[in-house]
Amino acid sequence: MFGLLMYGLTLLTMIGIYGVLTLALNLQWGFAGLFNAGIAGFFAVGAYTTAILTAPESANHLGGFGWPPLAALPVAMLLSGLIAWPIGRICLGLKGDYLAMASIGIAEIIRLVFKNETWLANGTMGISTVPRPFESLGQPWGNAAFLLLVVLILVVLYLAAERAWASPWGRAMRAIRDNELAAAAIGKDVVRFRLEAFVIGSMVMGLGGALSAMYFKFIGASATEPLLTTFLVWVMLIIGGSGNNRGALLGALVVWLIWSGTELFTNRLPAEWITRSSYLRALLIGVLLIVVLQRFARGILPERPPRRID
């Protein structure tokens, strides 16, 4: 019974953290049409920043500075935003496909820096002393409290995203997404709007990384694999419905349930298959994506124009 409760809390917390990431990607792709294929990079910045700031002092990496965990969240967001800003300035003037390529490359650079600069983040070993807030409450209350924190953050982000969607800001953003030339011809400063969506989205991705590092009490190269961040988050948004904040959240729920469900399955595979299990899971998710898109071409909850605010 206790094990089931803990499993449920884990599942919900992970869905919540992925929900943060899908809302962030929806802001970039669903609102502004920015193809960010480097989610892993901003996730890593947020996660490592949190780890370095909050972990107890160690000779193995920079810091740690032993900050209270919650104080690290805004800094993680700020730093992700600061890194996104120059990248956006350089890439957003380019056409869409170039942003995709540039963002993959930059994400890999960020990941490799953390992986190889041993003084910074203990290299491939990573930092495994990240404190999780409310841990002192013990199990399961500490876990439940952390879940509550994630849900609270998610609700705030969702409401902010919904208001933005229905606002003139969201309207200008969608206009740029739908037709860049026409948007410029009606006076929209295309680069400014895109930069806003890119930087704010990347900050929220950093927040997702920070929450993830706290939850696992660990951050290392394996945790920022593009398969687990960039790929899964994209699949979640596309399946759920890009351009729809609720769709983004639903996608996080559905895909994470299936993804973690396959873990139960792959654990029962014969030993010689287990080493390939992560590839099998990716394959399975790929098949799922194709099946869903056959039935729901624009996701389970497709984009809808916002309801009017009168």
Binding site: S167, W169, N179, A185
Partner: protein, 263 residues
């Protein structure tokens, strides 16, 4: 209102615009005609800030605006439509219009989140204006449809409607008539005349429909091979031997043949 001098724009080996100089007088409806590939749309794109010229200068309302980006030109009073409709496909027709006014306070994210009373009032005003424009152009029955689902002619109207959302000084119309039926076209022409007469909008019009040009435009500028061939009234143009050879063709009703051509 608009003046260009000695504009040159090359694409690879093609000199799309090749030393073009012309002026569009304030308060006029000036026509721009010429055969396909004459450089008309390229000229429009340079004036509207979508392309930077290789050489030459563009003035808008007395100011040198060469190389300005499109959004700045719009804020200075230059609106345009595109040869192929550039609607915001996944937005409703109403939203297509409401997106237009520049510097809406709700376009600042903080205001969008806090939704101050002033922001909502402004939004309401924009909405009323959009509905008024849609009613004027008789497309209010599709206001909640996605613009991407409209017919080609309706999309053109949405583009025209967008230019009317704001008080532009000058409007560039790039083949507003293509794909629009005759009855509707007559109404659009009436609307252009009314905006010109009552609101003082200056229009600069690319059009292959010679009847429309004859009805609306004075003067008419003829372009060929990236340069101005001549300028004058429609009667002058029709009588000009060089124009007949370059564009209108031998017959006296040459306009029928070029109605659907692309620039």
């Amino acid at each position: 209102m608009i003046k260009v001098e000695n504009l040159v724009k090359r694409f690879g080996g093609i000199r799309a615009v090749d030393g073009c100089s012309l002026a569009v007088a304030k308060g006029s409806v000036t026509g721009l005609i010429g055969p396909n590939g004459a450089g008309k749309s390229t000229l429009f794109n340079i004036i509207a800030g979508l392309l930077a010229p290789d050489q030459g200068t563009v003035w808008l309302d007395g100011e040198d605006v060469t190389g300005w980006p499109a959004h700045r030109l719009f804020r200075k009073g230059l609106a345009r439509t595109f040869q192929i409709a550039h609607e915001f496909g996944r937005m409703t027709v109403l939203e297509n219009l409401m997106a237009v006014p520049a510097r809406q306070s709700g376009e600042r994210l903080v205001n969008a989140w806090l939704r101050w009373p002033a922001v909502r009032r402004e939004e309401k005003g924009i909405r009323l204006r959009a509905e008024e424009v849609l009613a004027q152009l008789r497309i209010d029955h599709v206001k909640h449809e996605l613009a991407g689902n409209l017919s080609g002619g309706q999309k053109k109207l949405v583009e025209l409607a967008r230019t009317m959302m704001w008080q532009p000084k000058v409007v560039l119309l790039d083949e507003i008539g293509a794909g629009v039926n005759r009855t509707l076209l007559a109404e659009i022409a009436g609307e252009i005349e009314r905006l010109n007469r009552d609101h003082g909008y200056t229009f600069f019009v690319i059009e292959h429909d010679m009847d429309l040009i004859a009805r609306l435009c004075h003067p008419v500028i003829v372009m060929a091979e990236g340069r101005v061939l001549m300028q004058g009234s429609m009667a002058d143009v029709r009588g000009d031997q060089a124009v007949i050879e370059a564009y209108l063709g031998g017959g006296k009703s040459g306009h029928d043949g070029v109605r659907r051509g692309a620039a």
